[in-house]
């Protein structure tokens, strides 16, 4: 029973990693940029979630507001930070992105204070007995929410004309354009969706920890980078698998190796191990 419970906890954490890492891998697939500042959008989502919930009492409204607002902020980041340097070598964008991430953390500190914010009346804390296990409602929401959001993304990408155009653009932007696709619009869509998913993750983490703080994006930022490498850069399916795998490994690791290593150390030991055995990532192909 303990194993099953650990597994479920791992899936909850993995769902959060997935929501963050998918946006990162989407940006990488389209623009070959390592979008470190993505984790700043995750934090921003958390702040908006707490503030709107505290102001209105509605978590649903908070989630929606966070996703839409952060989606637009993501588009603005593309427009004002990345688009002007797209034809420079990739490290230029990487450095810009790291700088942007640090700046965002400082802005959060200045605006919201260094100690973080909490829900005045934390929603969804009631325990729910599911399959004989004690889970918080917030944890179930995290898993179900991630499933719905990522499932929705799958439907968009696989079944709609826009989604097909999106994948075609990732594969060969010049050809996509020569078939009438507006690749700049595709980039905006890409940033909107990726950022909105990160914001959703931020709201959920805020809910699980009942805390948002300026630096809450730091650990996820480098973990998500490691995850997308593990998933095969740009590969959405691989990224999802890597996220869930990492969540579960961490969950078991903290129990069985916790005396030796802390949670993050276990995660990175796992990443290093996998990359030593399979440098091409868990799923293998570099694109997909």
């Amino acid at each position: 029973m303990l194993a099953f419970e650990l597994f479920m906890q791992g899936l909850v954490q993995g769902s959060i990693y997935a929501l963050i890492a998918v946006g990162l891998t989407l940006v990488y697939g389209l623009l070959r940029i390592l979008h470190v500042a993505h984790a700043g959008l995750f934090t921003l989502g958390g702040y908006i979630g707490v503030l709107v919930t505290n102001a209105t009492g509605s978590l649903a409204l908070a989630l929606l507001t966070a996703m839409i607002a952060v989606g637009f902020v993501g588009m603005a980041l593309y427009r004002f930070c990345y688009q002007p340097i797209l034809d420079r070598p990739p490290y230029v964008a990487l450095i810009a992105s790291i700088g942007l991430f640090i700046a965002m953390e400082e802005i959060f500190r200045i605006i919201f204070g260094p100690y973080g914010l909490s829900y005045t009346a934390p929603p969804l804390q009631a325990p729910i007995i599911l399959l004989g296990m004690n889970l918080k409602a917030a944890e179930i929401l995290t898993m179900v929410g991630a499933l719905i959001l990522i499932g929705g993304l799958g439907v968009l990408a696989g079944r709609t004309r826009t989604g097909i155009a999106w994948r075609a653009t990732v594969k060969d932007p010049q050809m996509a354009e020569s078939f009438g696709i507006d690749i700049v619009k595709v980039r905006y869509l890409n940033f909107f969706i990726g950022s909105a998913l990160a914001a959703a993750a931020g709201v959920m983490v805020a809910l699980l920890n009942n805390l948002v703080e300026p630096t809450m994006g730091s650990v996820p930022s480098y973990k998500a980078l490691a995850i997308i490498v593990l998933g095969g850069l740009g590969n959405v399916r691989g990224t999802l698998i890597a996220s869930l795998a990492l969540g579960v490994i961490e969950s078991f690791g903290t129990i069985y190796l916790g005396f030796l290593l802390d949670r993050d150390a276990i995660a990175f030991a796992f990443l290093i191990l996998v990359l030593m055995i399979r440098p091409q990532g868990l799923v293998g192909r570099s694109n997909g």
């Binding site: 097909i164 994948r167 075609a168 594969k171 060969d172 020569s178 078939f179 696709i181 694109n287």
Partner: protein, 237 residues
Amino acid sequence: MLRLEAMSCGYGPFSAVAELTLQVAEGSVFALIGANGAGKSSTIMAIAGHVDLHGGSITFDGRNLSGVPARQRVRAGMGLVPEGRRLFSDLTVDENLTIGGYCRAAERTPENRARVLDLFPRLKERLDQAAGSLSGGEQQMLAMGRALMTEPRLLMIDEVSLGLMPKMVDVCYDVIRRLKDRGITILVVEQNTSRALEVADHVCVLESGRQVWQGTAAEARADSGLVEAYLGLAEAQ
């Protein structure tokens, strides 16, 4: 319908084609031939809007295309089968056709797809297969089908026969003839000169980015010196 006036194009400072003048008449087949590196693909990509003009002009239906982005050129009626085909390899055959029809209203896709599958029945059984898993011949069919989904009035095909077995080449040329009968204007780049001369009305020979000969296909066939000097050379590649 298509007119190049002293068109020069290239990559950054590098010039690939210099002062090329040619005119493709509505409903005709125009063949662009020459050895490797002569500038054939650059010419086609300049017409499609992917290579920068260094001088001269390109007009399509009397409209000067300078400054018109590639995605508007396809809407204006230019279909492209690029060098190397460049299919969206991890998308399915059906999805590749959908992208082909992207520049037209979604409601037109089923009708256009039916027309393409009629032309290339082999693709019908492979609709859900990834484009990258098709054979070379099937990939060429899909590349042509994808271009036809754009409802082109001018179809540009870079390398019709390259890497295909003779039977496949026959299929492709057969389709080109049928498209011509439907009134589609066609610009082909071809290494296999004799095949090109069979269907072409007009021929232009490029060498090192310059035009060295231009005339009707009948003249080209009659001019044995020309065939030896340029075409034979291209054939030997």
